[in-house]
Amino acid sequence: MRERKVPAIKDGTVIDHIPSRETFRIIRILNPQEFEHPISVTLNLYSKKMGKKGVIKIDDRFLTKSEVDRIAILAPSATVSIIKDYKIQNKIQVKLPKELNGIIKCSNPLCVTNKEEVRTTFKVVREDPLEVKCHYCEKVYTKDELEFMRK
């Protein structure tokens, strides 16, 4: 099957090369219900490198660093392109930071980050498969166990 083009956007952001199974999780962390601009999602696009991939296009909206970091956690293969007047202005390969600050919630109810006002910090202990460790209670989580902070 040949790759099919997804409708182009005039201004906004394109997140490409997302493993298909992570696409909906990425949409969720972007909180699409909180903005009004159109968002289009395509799943199961053929990709030579990835097999199946997902693409998310968001009109008139650009991502924050925290959002790009969240995408890097779920889909380290993803690229983020900024589109202006139908042209790619800037395309970046997301990069998993070594330390994740204020992005993930610690699921351990006894962790101090759930008891006092403390910004969470997780250290990446393994990239593939992803494992992160809470800086405070030292619990280790895999990608599927991660709970993102509400913004």
Partner: protein, 302 residues
């Protein structure tokens, strides 16, 4: 190597070189040094009950000529009024030269270390870390066996929830050791730790048969089945009497095998073993003072 101003929060923060340095200083602390910490004040912030850890820290500070302030029950502190750990530590930071904190909240010692400018020592943060226990365990093994390399160490009991087991296994992995994990399947060592140990090339054997495993061992580290860590009371009832060591064990062990236990024990080791040459658990508790003296001196730069 200087430890001055350093926090003692987690065994994961220490290299082999650090551990060797602490063991060396601990040995020196077997001798009395009554003036070493004269004029220094230790804050003991204990948000949950503890006997050995608190008393041995206080004893260590007194034996080095220092003074102790603090509380051992959060009901008598402002925490009862809703004060946070952060604020309590900020206050103790201004009242003392070093702080020991114990709390059921996991990660509280790391947070305390961030709040304080003086060194903070973790006296146990829930099911997470209790590094001074690990260091005194390591010191006890080295003192009893005169080495760490080449030992076969068995862990018996609650290996799933037992933080002392997790930390000691990680600390021992700096040496060439073989580890035996002896527990019912449901209380076996968590995969996360097994994976770390295997990556370091440490041979690990899991079994539920204490008698056959004990034949090989140089040290048997026994832990209590901890009721307070079990999320399900039924699960605790099922396993609370899983093991009880008595004289019948001794037929199966090496002559110089040592039995350790972080204490308190609640029936895992029969008192009839106390007077045997195998029992090392009361010496282990005594070593708590020696190792804590070393740690207090080190972080205070003395």
């Amino acid at each position: 190597m200087t430890f001055k101003g350093r926090d003692i929060v987690s065994i994961h923060d220490f290299t082999k070189k650090d551990l060797l340095h602490i063991l060396k200083r601990s040995k020196e602390m077997e001798e009395d040094k009554p003036e070493l910490l004269a004029g220094k004040i230790l804050s003991v912030l204990f948000f949950e009950p503890s006997t050995r850890t608190r008393l041995s820290f206080e004893s260590a500070m007194c034996r080095l000529g220092g003074k102790v302030i603090g509380f051992s029950d959060e009901k008598v502190s402002s925490v009862k009024k809703g004060e946070t750990i952060w604020d309590t530590v900020k206050m103790a930071d201004r009242y003392s030269d070093v702080i020991v904190i114990r709390s059921p909240i996991e990660g509280s010692a790391r947070l305390a270390a961030e709040a304080a400018s003086v060194p903070v020592i973790n006296g146990g943060d829930g099911a997470n870390q209790h590094p001074t226990q690990t260091l005194l365990d390591l010191y006890t093994i080295q003192k009893a066996k005169r080495k760490l390399n080449g030992l076969k160490v068995g862990f018996l009991g609650d290996l799933k929830y037992g933080r002392t087991v997790h930390s000691l296994a990680i600390a021992l992995s700096h040496w060439e050791v073989g580890l035996y994990f002896i527990a019912p399947d449901a209380l076996q060592m968590p995969d996360q730790y097994l994976k770390d140990l295997q990556e370091k090339g440490i041979p690990c054997i899991q079994t539920s048969d204490v008698f056959s495993a004990s034949k090989e061992l140089d040290v048997l580290y026994v832990t209590r089945i901890q009721q307070e860590r079990f999320p399900d009371p039924m699960e605790y009832e099922r396993y609370k009497h899983a093991y009880r060591l008595d004289r019948s064990l001794l037929e199966h062990v090496k002559k110089d095998m040592k039995i350790m236990h972080p204490l308190p024990r609640v029936g895992e080791i029969s008192p009839e073993l106390d007077e045997t040459t195998h029992a090392a658990y009361f010496d282990q508790a005594g070593n708590g003072v020696t190792v804590r003296k070393a740690l207090l001196a080190l972080v205070l730069g003395r």
